[in-house]
């Protein structure tokens, strides 16, 4: 080999022919057996007419026809692309009868409502899922008899959250309430034994209906083609009856129920009740459960005043106010610096048990109150514990707060006395937060 005396500086132009291409991110799904369904409803007060071809250019024909049948019409206009007539009716219009009349008319070739389709998304197949705007709000009519629609996106992002956790059977939510109708069709497979501190018995059956409704929001049997979806699909419910049929319970009884649940290693206690008075009886019970690692989720109250106890025990409980289908605070939701988060609590849909119809275990309906906001948070906590079992109760409660959406930041940016940190968001709570 020949030696060189001078070191030659090498220069080289490298062209990397293989680009750093971006590709579709892989997400790791639970493998949940969920179905793709299409929602079908129509634009309210709107009918689409197809007039026979020879009259299709004459705008007056439909209006004259409608008057002929005795229907008062708000407006008629022609659609510029299809040439169909769009008929705007009033709220009190008997649409069904109108369509029936028009279909029989020889000048009308077809009549239809203006149906709404939506993109296909993964969602559970529970019968009344479309009424549960709290879980998935795509602007649907969630309360048909009152024609109530919400704002798309004003929900707890349950569909996204369920991609990461649908709950484990070994996570139990204690419902400290009026009991639970344990044989309701959408709860019967979700129960674990509880206790009745009113009658001092093991029969914690509901005699009011409140507890059944709360339980169904937190953990109804989900994706079973029946009833409603619970926030936590697979978590179990422990009924702890501490309220009587009138919805009243004394602090000592409630404290007994809290301690009972904490001693049975229940990780989440839903406390959808409140009292105006502070007492060591309730405070000590909450501390007892908290010190045993329980997550205590409490409703703030429904009288637009200060936060009730036990939600007011800021060190031990996560206090939950109620928001609506527009991500606005319910005007009756209690407020104060103790409010941690809000969840939908206005016209939320759940399982109904009516003591006057004890045999009817297929009832469902709407209800409002911070009582029904709290179980959304209890369900969220159950999903998180199922997914990350090594988290402490303090971490869980803080994560629920920190991952909430500050939905009223345009008027009260940051933590405020009405919505606390904001409306809970299961996607941020459970899914990975993208680092930029």
């Amino acid at each position: 080999m020949q030696k060189k005396s001078v070191f030659i500086i090498l220069s080289f132009l490298f062209i990397f022919s293989m680009p750093f291409s971006r590709s579709t991110p892989n997400r790791y799904h639970n493998g949940i057996p969920i179905q793709s369904l299409k929602r079908e409803c129509s634009i309210p007060n709107q009918i689409i007419l197809k007039v026979i071809q020879e009259y299709s250019g004459k705008k007056l024909i439909p209006r004259l026809l409608l008057h002929q049948y005795g229907f008062d019409i708000k407006a008629v206009r022609r659609h510029h692309i299809t040439d169909y007539f769009i008929v705007e009716t009033f709220n009190d219009c008997d649409t069904e009868n109108l369509i029936k009349n028009l279909k029989a008319d020889p000048l009308i070739s077809d009549v239809s409502l203006n149906y709404i389709a939506s993109i296909t998304v993964d969602r559970p197949n529970d019968t009344f899922f479309q009424f549960q705007y709290a879980l998935y709000n795509y602007g649907q009519v969630y309360y048909p008899t009152q024609n109530k629609m919400g704002n798309r996106g004003s929900d707890i992002k349950a569909l996204d959250g369920w991609d990461w956790s649908i709950g484990n059977e070994d996570v139990v939510i204690a419902i400290l309430d009026t009991g639970v109708a344990v044989d309701h069709e959408d709860l019967i497979n979700k129960m674990v034994p509880g206790y009745n501190f009113i009658d001092d018995s093991v029969d914690a059956y509901d005699d009011n209906g409140h507890g059944t409704f709360v339980a169904s929001i937190a953990a109804a049997d989900t994706n079973n083609s029946t009833g409603v979806a619970g926030v936590s699909w697979n978590c179990k419910i422990m009924p702890v009856k501490v309220f009587d049929s009138q919805g009243l319970g004394d602090y000592l009884t409630i404290a007994s129920g809290i301690r009972f649940a904490a001693d049975r290693e229940v990780k989440i206690l839903n406390l959808s009740f409140g009292g105006e008075s502070d007492s060591f009886i309730l405070r000590d019970a909450c501390r007892y459960a908290y010190d045993r690692g329980c997550v205590l989720v409490a409703a703030t109250g429904n009288d637009a005043s200060q936060v009730l106890y036990p939600a007011r025990y800021d060190s031990y409980c996560i206090a939950v106010g109620a928001s609506d289908a527009y991500d606005e605070i319910a005007d009756w939701s209690n407020y104060g610096q103790e409010v941690d988060v809000v969840a939908p609590g206005v016209d939320v849909f759940g399982a109904i048990f009516s003591p006057s119809e004890p045999g009817n275990l297929q009832l469902y309906g709407w209800g409002s109150g911070t009582s029904f906001a709290a179980p959304h948070v209890a369900g969220a906590a159950a999903l998180l514990i199922s997914y990350k079992s090594d988290l402490t109760n303090s971490q869980i409660m803080n994560l629920i707060k920190y991952t909430a959406d500050d939905v009223n930041d345009f008027v009260y940016p940051g933590v405020d006395v009405y919505m606390g940190y904001g409306r809970i968001n299961l996607n941020t709570l459970l899914g990975p937060f993208p680092l930029n």
Binding site: M1, F14, F20, P25, Y402, D409, T428, P432, L435
Partner: protein, 250 residues
Amino acid sequence: MKKLFFLVFLLIFWFQLFSAEKEITVNDLDFTTGLRASYCDTKIVFSDDEIETSLIYMVLALEVDFDIVDFLSIGVIAGYNWSRFENPLSITSLPLSLEIEERANRSMVFGLNLKSEFFSSGDFSIFAKAEFIYFKLFKQEREVNLSVVSGSATIQHWFYRATLDLILKYHGFQAIVPFLGPQVNIIGGELKVTEDIEDITGEEELTHHQKNLFGMVGGILYDFGRDWQASLEVNLFSQLSITIGIFYQF
């Protein structure tokens, strides 16, 4: 597998050392220097939950090879690399799960290789190469901006690549030497992510390794001028990589 890798190398080295003892002549610091650039796309698996992704990196490095003895040379490698994961990586074991996007990271690389053309017959020769490259990534700090609160996440990632090639070279052409052979390809590393959001802290360490151990290596060497050599090397099966280099022999 690391033990096997070094065992094979030692066997080749000692076999050659003792069998050719009398022929060994140490030259006066003969060395070759050059630049090489590599693009590599290799499948890796995170051990804990078997998440599979691709590690993609580019390396621009200076390599200096010293001939220790006639049949053995040692190379020292230093350079720079850009690396990233093919897909966003979800770290779900932290209190707040984090998703690391595929932004490229930069770091220094350091490496060593041993090369030996220990057998030849006619126009053919057999060449062995063992190489170890260590990639130390810079520590990165990212912001975690939630709706109301903020925090930070720190990402640290290092990895190494060790290869053992057994190559058949053909010297029948005038200036071009094609080569082909099997390759053992080992990649190992660790990704450490910490988060600090208000009073919530967490730390996660994930180790990863190569998905495929065995592959093929092939390419050509092209001698030009009196002391220059260019190389093109392609690795297949265990990884997809292309390396081009230009070397000057002093």
